[in-house]
C-alpha cells in the first residue's frame, strides 16, 4: 500500500506537480500495481546475482580521440530560452 503522503513525497522527488485528483488516483493505482509487483518477494533470491547486462559482453572501449562537438548554435536551436549563448532558466531562488 502507498498512501497520499508517500505519493506526494515521490512526486516531489520526480519533479512532478500533481493535482488533488491525480494524487488520489495515483495512490490507488500505484497500490494495485505494487501489490502485483510484490509477488517477487516470494522468491528465494539470496544466492542470485543481479543482472547487469543480458548478453555476455566485454568492456567496450574506444579511442580517446576528440571529435568535433555539436556546434553551439545547433545545440541551442531547440532551447525554449537562450541567453548569452547558454540555456536560460529562472532563478533557483524565489
Amino acid at each position: 500500500m502507498i498512501d497520499r503522503e508517500q505519493v506526494l513525497h515521490v512526486a516531489q522527488l520526480a519533479r512532478l506537480e500533481l493535482s488533488e485528483d491525480e494524487l488520489e488516483r495515483m495512490a490507488h493505482e500505484l497500490s494495485g500495481v505494487l501489490d502485483h509487483i510484490e509477488r517477487i518477494g516470494e522468491l528465494d533470491l539470496d544466492e542470485v546475482a543481479p543482472t547487469s547486462h543480458v548478453v555476455e559482453v566485454e568492456n567496450a572501449l574506444r579511442e580517446d580521440k576528440p571529435r568535433p562537438p555539436l556546434p553551439r548554435e545547433v545545440a541551442l536551436a531547440a532551447a525554449p530560452l537562450v541567453l548569452q549563448d547558454g540555456f536560460a532558466v529562472p532563478s533557483p531562488q524565489a
Binding site: 500495481v33 502485483h36 517477487i40 518477494g41 533470491l45 548478453v55 531547440a78
Partner: protein
C-alpha cells in the same frame, strides 16, 4: 504496370534493381496513401519526394520507402516520441538505425504514432490521439509501435521501424496481422532512439512478411556503433530465409506461456501452427521457464525505474515544452505536469518510488535478481531446444477504451512478450490465423544472435500457414 502497393518490400526492391520500377513512382504511391491516412498512424509524412540517390536505385533496400516510429530522432524532422513535451522538436542528428537504412537505400516516408515514450500496449497513450486498427477501427492496433504496425498492415507503408522494450514490436504486429521482430539486445544501435528503459530497448522491423524482415534487419545490424556502448557487432550477416522443411528443429513450448489467461481462439491458432511445425519435420515438446510467471512483476519494476531516470531530462531547459514560472523548481514541476500524459506520470512515479531511499533492494535489487533467473531459464531451455514458441498476445485486438481505466489489465497485454525482453533474446511474431475476424500471432524466440535461424523457421512456417488475409484497404 501492376499496383506497386501490392508488392512486398523485397519484391519492390527487386523490381527497382531490375529497372522495372521507378523508386520515385513507388515513393509517390506510398506518399499519397500515407498522406490520406485515416488511422492516425502517421504523425508526420514527407511532403517532398527524396532526392534520388545511387543507393535508392542500387542499394540493397532498392528505394523502398520506410515509415519510422516517432521514437527515433530524425534530423530536421519532428521527433516527438508521442509526447506533448516534445511537440515540434526537431533533433540535430539522426538515429544510427535510421541512418543505416537510408544509406542502404530506404528513404524516409514518415514518422509513425506511438504510445508516449513507448509506454503502452494499445497506442491510446499517445499525446497525438490513438491509432485505429485497420482490421476494425473500433479496436486498438496494440502498442507501443501501433502506428508502425497499422501503417504496414493497411498498406500505407511497405515496412516500418519500431522499438520493443517489453513487446512493443511483437504485440502490435500480432494485433495487426503482420511480422514483427525484436532482435537480440544490442544487435541494433540505440543511438538516437529516445530512451525509455535502456537495458531493454531494442529497435526492429515491422513488415508484411518474413523475407522483408530479413532484408531490412540485414541493414540494421553490422559493426558496433561507437555512439552506443551497449551495441554489439553482429557475428554474421543476415541471410534471406529459404527453409521449406524444419527437419531436426527442436521447438520447446513453455508451459508457463501457453495456457492460463490466453483466449481460446488464440490458443487454437497456436496449436494449429505447432501441428504445422511437426508436419514440416520439427519436434515439438513442452518445456519449462519456471520464473516466467514473475517476469511481468520484475519488468514493471525495472522498466519504470529506468524510465524515471531517463525522463528526468525533460525539464524545459534544453528542448521541448517549458511552462514559465517564478522559480526553477516550479518551472520543472509545471513543465512536467503539463507535458507528460497520465501513463508516463504513473511510470515515473512507480520508478521513482522503486528507486527511492529504503526501497531500492526490495524492488530494483530483487527485480534484477529475478531477471538473472529468467536469463538462466532461457539458457537452460536452449540447451534442449533450438527455439521456444508461444502465442504473442493473450488476446486479439481489444476495443478502444477497454483497458484504459485499469493499468494492471493493460500491463497484462505484455505477459507473453516481456520474458524474452528481460532475457535479451531475439523474438519474432508471425501472423498465424484469425480469431473472431481478427489476426493472431505466433511467437518464436531463440538464443542471442540466432536471428538467421529464427527467420528461417518463421519463413518455413509462413509458407505453410499461407496467411493471406489483409484488412480492407482504402
Amino acid at each position: 504496370m501492376s499496383d506497386p502497393i501490392a508488392l512486398s518490400a523485397a519484391e519492390a526492391a527487386s523490381r527497382v534493381h531490375a529497372g522495372a520500377l521507378d523508386p520515385a513512382e513507388l515513393f509517390d504511391a506510398y506518399q499519397s496513401r500515407a498522406a490520406a491516412d485515416e488511422l492516425n498512424a502517421f504523425t508526420w509524412v514527407a511532403e517532398e519526394p527524396p532526392t534520388a540517390t545511387a543507393a535508392m536505385a542500387e542499394g540493397p533496400l532498392g528505394g523502398v520507402p520506410l515509415a519510422v516510429k516517432d521514437l527515433f530522432c530524425t534530423r530536421g524532422v519532428p521527433s516527438q516520441a508521442g509526447s506533448r513535451i516534445l511537440q515540434g522538436y526537431e533533433p540535430p542528428y539522426t538515429a544510427t538505425a535510421v541512418e543505416r537504412l537510408e544509406q542502404a537505400g530506404a528513404p524516409l516516408l514518415g514518422k509513425t504514432n506511438q504510445d508516449e515514450f513507448a509506454m503502452g500496449s494499445s497506442n491510446e497513450n499517445s499525446g497525438y490521439g490513438p491509432v485505429l486498427n485497420p482490421w476494425d477501427r473500433g479496436r486498438v492496433p496494440g502498442g507501443s509501435s501501433g502506428g508502425s504496425a497499422a501503417a504496414v498492415a493497411a498498406g500505407l507503408a511497405p515496412w516500418a521501424l519500431g522499438t520493443d522494450t517489453g513487446g512493443s514490436i511483437r504485440q502490435p504486429a500480432s494485433l495487426c496481422g503482420i511480422v514483427g521482430l525484436k532482435p537480440t539486445y544490442g544487435a541494433v544501435s540505440r543511438y538516437g532512439m529516445i530512451a525509455f528503459a535502456s537495458s531493454l530497448d531494442q529497435a526492429g522491423p515491422l513488415t508484411r512478411n518474413v523475407t522483408d524482415a530479413a532484408l531490412i534487419l540485414g541493414q540494421m545490424v553490422g559493426p558496433r556503433d561507437r555512439c552506443d556502448s551497449t551495441s554489439l557487432e553482429f557475428p554474421e550477416s543476415i541471410e534471406l530465409p529459404t527453409a521449406t522443411r524444419l527437419d531436426g528443429a527442436a521447438i520447446g513450448v513453455p508451459e508457463e506461456l501457453s495456457g492460463e489467461g490466453i483466449e481460446d481462439g488464440v490458443l487454437r491458432a497456436f496449436e494449429e501452427t505447432l501441428h504445422i511445425a511437426e508436419r514440416l519435420g520439427a519436434t515439438v515438446k513442452r518445456c519449462r521457464l519456471p520464473h516466467a510467471p514473475h517476469a511481468l512483476s520484475a519488468y514493471y519494476v525495472l522498466a519504470p525505474a529506468e524510465a524515471s531516470s531517463n525522463l528526468a531530462r525533460y525539464d524545459g531547459v534544453r528542448y521541448g515544452l517549458r511552462e514559465e514560472a517564478e522559480t526553477l523548481l516550479e518551472m520543472y514541476t509545471r513543465t512536467r505536469r503539463d507535458g507528460f500524459g497520465a501513463e508516463v506520470k504513473r511510470r515515473i512515479m512507480l520508478g521513482t518510488y522503486a528507486l527511492s531511499s529504503g526501497y531500492y533492494e526490495a524492488y530494483y535489487g530483487r527485480a534484477q535478481r529475478v531477471r538473472t533467473k529468467i536469463v538462466e531459464d532461457f539458457r537452460a531451455a536452449f540447451e534442449d531446444f533450438d527455439l521456444v514458441a508461444c502465442p504473442t498476445s493473450p488476446t486479439v485486438a481489444f476495443e478502444l477504451g477497454a483497458r484504459t481505466g485499469d493499468p494492471l489489465a493493460m500491463y497484462m497485454s505484455d505477459v507473453l512478450t516481456v520474458p524474452m525482453s528481460l532475457a535479451g533474446v531475439p523474438a519474432l511474431s508471425l501472423p498465424n490465423g484469425m480469431s473472431d475476424g481478427l489476426p493472431t500471432g505466433f511467437q518464436l524466440a531463440g538464443p542471442p544472435f540466432s536471428e538467421n535461424r529464427l527467420l528461417d523457421v518463421a519463413f518455413a512456417l509462413e509458407q505453410a500457414i499461407d496467411f493471406d488475409a489483409v484488412p480492407a484497404r482504402a
